[in-house]
């Protein structure tokens, strides 16, 4: 029972982190039809900036400043890099963000080295929030969830209730019309890109010390975020939300379940003849590739994703 509860809570926390990343990616894609391959790199930069700032002045300033820095970096990237690549077509844009992601990882290694850095949970957030049947649930995980939910509610409110949010929503489907109405659509694009990357940076700030802050963190997070977006349906925030939580919870559960096909067969009173590698595979071992298998299944049976509408 405690396994179920703790896995569920951990899974939701992880899923919300995934959603923070995938929502930014979805916003950018919906608006500008650009797949920001470097999105996970901004996540990584958020973590590293937060580490540096918390080493200098503390975690809480870092929580505020690091995402801002990442967002500013994002706007610069959009303004001076992406816009230029845009002229050469979608492949060039994608390759530009790909090159950028690569550069970001190398730059991080140049500045902070190849080893993981000691980005720690601040003392005020350490410890257990509550203990449930012997398992303690860390305060920090709850904090992560709170920040994620808070940020996303703010995003929703911003889009739905502010004037700029309405303009952005309009530009999401009809950028030419919005420009014809006199709005500076390129500037809106830059704003959205900056906001999306700032979101990724925020995810890095709160995720970097719970998980590990190292140059490889972009590579370990990045592909899963893309899977989430494909599974949820390209361009659908709702789909990204459902997919993030689904994958987050499912993967967390699988990591803790050491069941394999052999166990299942034995439970059915069937003794397997030969224990091949396939039947000996436990769910724990399958957990890392589960998101990709999920993606393959979705692509076969529902190629547009759970809630997707766009037909490429």
């Amino acid at each position: 029972m405690q396994f179920v509860v703790s896995s569920l809570l951990n899974g939701i926390a992880y899923g919300l982190l995934l959603f923070m990343l995938s929502s930014g990616l979805t916003l950018i894609f919906s608006m500008m039809s650009i797949l920001n391959f470097a999105h996970a790199a901004f996540y990584m930069l958020g973590a590293y900036f937060a580490y540096q700032i918390s080493a200098a002045v503390g975690f809480w300033p870092g929580l505020l400043i690091a995402p801002l820095l990442v967002g500013i970096l994002g706007t610069l990237v959009e303004r001076y890099g992406l816009r230029k690549a845009h002229r050469f077509g979608p492949v060039a844009e994608l390759l530009f963000t790909f090159g950028l992601s690569f550069l970001a990882v190398e730059a991080v290694q140049l500045i902070w080295g190849k080893a993981a850095v000691d980005y720690r949970i601040p003392p005020s957030l350490q410890g257990a929030l509550f203990t449930f049947h012997g398992t303690s649930y860390p305060i920090y995980k709850a904090f992560m969830m709170a920040v994620s939910v808070g940020m996303l509610l703010a995003l929703y409110a911003g889009l739905a209730f502010t004037r700029i949010g309405l303009i952005i929503q309009a530009a999401l489907s009809r950028p030419d019309m919005v420009q014809a109405l006199g709005h500076d659509v390129p500037r809106i694009f830059t704003l959205v890109f900056g906001a999306g990357t700032a979101l990724a940076g925020l995810a890095g700030v709160i995720g970097g010390n719970a998980l590990v802050t190292e140059p490889g963190m972009a590579q370990s997070m990045g592909p899963i975020v893309f899977v989430v977006v494909v599974v949820g349906g390209l361009g659908s925030l709702g789909g990204a939300f459902v997919a993030s939580l689904l994958i987050g919870v499912l993967q967390t559960f699988m990591v803790g379940l050491d069941w394999s096909l052999i166990d299942l067969l034995r439970a059915l009173r069937l003794e397997p003849h030969a224990a091949s590698a396939l039947t000996r595979l436990s769910l724990t071992q399958l957990a890392p590739i589960m998101p990709y298998l999920f993606m393959v299944v979705i692509l076969i049976f529902r190629p547009r994703g759970l809630m997707g509408a766009r037909e490429t």
């Binding site: 690549a85 050469f88 979608p90 492949v91 550069l103 730059a107 140049l110 190629p303």
Partner: protein
């Protein structure tokens, strides 16, 4: 209509063959042959990648899976040959890699080609990661951390060829590189090949002339998988060991770089890119440990400023020559060379200093050697000169670029004038 063996074609083929045959004789040093082998394998790999990107408009971030799985299939077959003492010609072993590549191309391609464009790119990434992650789950096939190894010299040998010597290995690679290049080129002159171009340019219109773009893409993925698998088979034979690195994201990334740097719009682009990147990888890596950063910089700069790659740059200058503007362009480059050199020297110094500082074990001292000087990266003042060099050089370069860009606007007009 061009005859199959037109004069220009025969000349090119003969030249290609001559270069391949004569190349090992250029240098007696040990590294030369190994370099040529790597270039040969990379050439096939990059050409197969460009079947997807340049020809069909499909950007795949997971092309290494066909390369890697082909390599694993080949090395396992080789092990089986040893175990069962089969008389199997090693010369044909890369075909096993090709078969594996084709098989997985058919399997993965079914899923991958359900969508196109950006989604295809993401799916390719996902499948690449899936296969790379799977490699840890099936140690029997993937060999775990240590990989799978074997020996390419078997008891049987045809015509006395055992592939024991590096030279024989080179000619095996050269043989397959030649065959594959010709094969991939021939494919461009088939209905499928041309339709792949049509689907790349305008998939909707391709539907309205009777073709299902999905099928075109699917077939191209399968065929590209075949050739990538052959390259994988050759790499298995060349190194006699295959590890999970062969199919990971890094390998997928390198082939993207090779094709793009060489130029995806031309058939020979990936060949140039494969050779250049392989050489740079070895040459630059020998000089500095920060070489991946330089690669990333080169790649990103090319995307923004010369998306046609090196082949594209040459073609562009050919057009300049046709329009009689080459001389002018050369003058401009000379003028740009000075600020460029300034900027580049400054940038390299900064990068090297950063690397030295990040990896130093003694606080206060981070020595590095660059451009014949010995510097200490831990001294803050030392950062000023290169930073100024980058800033000044960059600003001047931008000014020069603006002028060159102004010239490029008139190029199409000048060309049309000449053509009329």
């Amino acid at each position: 209509m061009k005859a199959l063996f037109s004069r220009s074609r025969v000349i090119v083929l003969a030249g290609y063959l001559a270069v391949i045959v004569v190349a090992p004789l250029v240098s007696q040093k040990g590294y030369w042959l190994s370099l040529l082998c790597q270039i040969g394998i990379a050439t096939i790999f990059a050409l197969s990648f460009n079947m997807l990107l340049g020809q069909t408009g499909l950007l795949s971030f997971g092309h290494a899976v066909y390369f890697g799985l082909g390599a694993f299939a080949t090395i396992h077959l080789l092990r089986a040959v040893h175990e069962h003492s089969w008389r199997f010609p090693i010369t044909l072993l890369p075909l096993a890699g090709g078969a594996a590549g084709l098989l997985f191309g058919v399997a993965f391609g079914y899923v991958m080609t359900r969508r196109a464009g950006t989604t295809f790119a993401m799916i390719s990434l996902g499948i690449g990661e899936m296969v790379a992650a799977s490699s840890l789950m099936f140690p029997a096939f993937f060999g775990g951390e240590g990989g799978v190894s074997s020996n390419r010299v078997t008891k049987a040998s045809w015509f006395g060829i055992t592939y024991g010597s590096p030279l024989q290995m080179y000619y095996l690679i050269a043989f397959w590189a030649f065959l594959c290049s010709v094969g991939i080129y021939a494919l461009t002159d088939t209905p499928l090949g041309r339709l792949a171009n049509a689907v790349r340019d305008n998939p909707e219109r391709a539907e309205f002339i009777g073709y299902d773009p999905r099928w075109v893409r699917y077939l191209m993925v399968a065929l590209a998988g075949f050739f990538a698998g052959v390259a994988g088979g050759l790499t298995a034979l060349n190194y006699e060991i295959v590890t999970a690195e062969t199919l990971n994201a890094g390998t997928s990334g390198i082939v993207i770089m090779m094709a793009f740097v060489g130029g995806i719009e031309f058939f020979h682009g990936p060949i140039i890119g494969a050779a250049l990147i392989t050489v740079l990888q070895i040459a630059v890596a020998g000089v500095t440990d920060a070489w991946p950063f330089y690669f990333g910089l080169l790649f990103t700069a090319l995307v923004l400023y010369a998306p046609g790659g090196i082949a594209g740059i040459f073609a562009g200058h050919r057009r300049l020559y046709d329009a009689g503007q080459l001389g002018r362009a050369m003058q401009e480059y000379l003028v740009a060379a000075v600020p460029f050199a300034l900027c580049a020297v400054g940038l390299v110094t900064l990068v090297e200093m950063a690397y030295a500082l990040a990896n130093t074990t003694e606080p206060g001292s981070a020595p590095l050697h660059v451009f014949g000087l010995t510097l200490n990266a831990a001294q803050p003042l030392g950062w000023a000169p290169p930073s100024i060099a980058v800033a000044v050089g960059g600003a001047l370069l931008r000014a020069v670029f603006r002028r060159i860009a102004g010239r490029r606007e008139t190029l199409p007009a000048a060309l049309r004038r000449r053509q009329a």
